[in-house]
Symmetry: C2
Subunit: 333 residues, 2 copies
DNA sequence: CTGTTAGCGCATTCAT
DNA sequence: ATGAATGCGCTAACAG
């Protein structure tokens, strides 16, 4: 492969002129410039990204650690990050932590060692002992994506789950429901906690009787059976799932309990399936704007790269409630 | 950041000894070795991946270009590639071509310029004029994933679509169907072509009347209306979709034509939805082993890296037919 | 407007 | 078993 020296010799100019032509970093007389361009053409020269990165201490790349590549919502986030990265001339280096704290820490180190200019952590467990120190000590700025930890000093992107859940509850109440059930999931996860908060916000705001509401926080093997029992006892008329895996659980319980969604049982879920329109009935979902979240994370990162010591920002994207039949056709006694 | 020189000075050894200790590239007396290790500990030294890569002309990274990040099947492939890459000590650089030939070419150049050690192209359009030359001329080996182009001189990974489709047809025939319909999609795509071939294989093998079979190759706006018309005319009893987008189209047509899957109409699709069990009825799918495909691509790549001039290999993974209610409960008149 | 020069941090060859 | 010296290809002072 031809290098800058080859080009310089051929164009009969100095090394630095070639560099400046390639990077447009200083004025070069049109004639000289053209000679260089011709030499580049003739030699098939391509800039050595590695040498350049080493010299400038910048790789023009960003790292993304996701906790579950393979999950559709993540695919969309990755997609959004990649999309925005390319637009800023950045390349994306991807790592997967598989929801494992130790692997997350290794992934972070790998990417940092690769000297990515910035790092995005999507749905970080942030639980490995050394990780937090690594992150705060990192020269490359860090952005937290999806899970918001208010106490941490990073730029962050999340959704306004609390508000969305409250709006969903209000909608169900307006449709005539007075006894709701929420499959709330693991309350150590910030997002799921926010959704539970939003649930009670809605209950309060709608002046429902709190004693008549049902909340399931566990997800152990019994949960499904428990739920099936409640379904048989008919202690609620509307069922909400706080995430897609929880929705799967809930729907299986509904089928197991020989109940049908949309008849006398309303159903809604967060984060959305891939083809909610193809279910019968079509399922009301509160979708995560995953692509936009990815794009936003990159925006925060680029901003941060430009002004290192601005205050950390947390951006919350609004979630759209996509109303469909599963909460609409309700006929209450 | 401390560099090797700092470590060398502190351990009172030479630069090269430090290098050899770090990389284990030559024998070092245990005592010396320990001094170096201590100095590394004390300085918090981390190897500079960039300088190392430049010096060795190897980045220990691989590039992956996908044509639609965001699509669940791809998420799984990416996942598989990442998983296998990490196991081989390789980092993954990801780019998306968005099914656009020009962007695909740009992505390939970007990754090659980053000096990835190898490149995997998932569902390549391979249609940009210059791309093929770039690929064959690339110093980094290239693996084609998902779409197999028999005439190209690369290692390739695909599925045995033709065989899977034939098996699916046989199954439907055994369930009593004699008039089938296939939404076959764009026949310029190798995979979709193979599936159509498999369809006719099955028809022939089952001795069905070819004139009674229906194949829709287009996917323009009319296709859905066309399909709805056929559904009303009841010219087939089993409907197969060759891919997930085609399945969406087909199911919309079924609903538009006020027909119900599973009653008198069997339905099956390739590549699978995410939650086929939650549909009513549960949908028979021929799933792509996407994760394994990703893993296999990395294996081929690593093999290739070790023996540059072995003959190109094409690996075809078998597809599993996941039989569910949509093809089972059929009661024919 | 252009050229000369000095490293960036490391792996590696050649000596000892 | 260890060290000294070289250069990978580039950018950015500095000098003219």
């Amino acid at each position: 492969m031809a290098n800058m020296n080859d080009v310089a010799r051929r164009a009969e100019v100095s090394l630095s002129t070639v560099s400046h032509v390639v990077n447009g970093t200083r004025n070069v007389e049109p004639k000289t410039r053209q000679r260089v361009l011709d030499a580049i053409q003739a030699t098939g020269y391509r800039q050595d990204v590695l040498a350049r990165a080493m010299r400038r201490s910048r790789t023009d790349s960003i790292g993304l650690v996701v906790s579950d590549a393979g999950e559709p919502a993540f695919a969309e986030m990755v997609h959004g990050v990649e999309h925005a990265a390319v637009q800023h001339g950045l390349t994306l280096v991807l790592a997967n932590s598989a929801e494992d704290a130790e692997r997350e820490e290794r992934a972070v180190h790998t990417l940092l060692d690769r000297r990515v200019d910035g790092l995005i952590l999507a749905r970080s467990a942030a639980t490995a002992p050394g990780l937090l120190g690594t992150l705060t000590g990192s020269k490359a700025p860090v952005i937290l994506l999806d899970r918001v930890f208010p106490e941490l000093p990073f730029d962050q992107v999340g959704v306004d789950s609390r508000d969305a859940m409250q709006r969903l509850v209000m909608h169900l109440v307006n449709a005539g429901h007075k006894r709701l059930a929420l499959v709330a999931g693991d309350q150590r996860v910030p997002t799921l906690r926010e959704r539970l908060d939003g649930f009670w916000d809605g209950v309060r705001r709608a002046r429902l009787d709190p004693a008549e509401q049902t909340v399931l926080e566990k997800t152990d093997p019994d949960t499904r059976a428990q739920l099936e029992k409640m379904l048989e006892e008919d202690i609620f008329s509307a069922l909400i799932a706080s995430s897609t895996p929880l929705a799967t659980l809930a729907l299986e319980a509904v089928q197991g309990g020989r109940r049908v969604v949309g008849g006398d049982l309303a159903f809604a879920t967060f984060d959305g399936f891939n083809h909610p329109d193809l279910f019968e009935p079509r399922i009301t979902t509160v979708r995560q704007p995953a692509f936009d979240m990815g794009v936003t994370a990159v925006r925060l990162l680029v901003d941060r790269l430009e002004s290192r010591d601005a205050n950390p920002r947390t951006v919350r994207l609004q979630q759209q409630i996509e109303l469909r039949d599963s909460t609409e056709r309700i006929q209450l006694a």
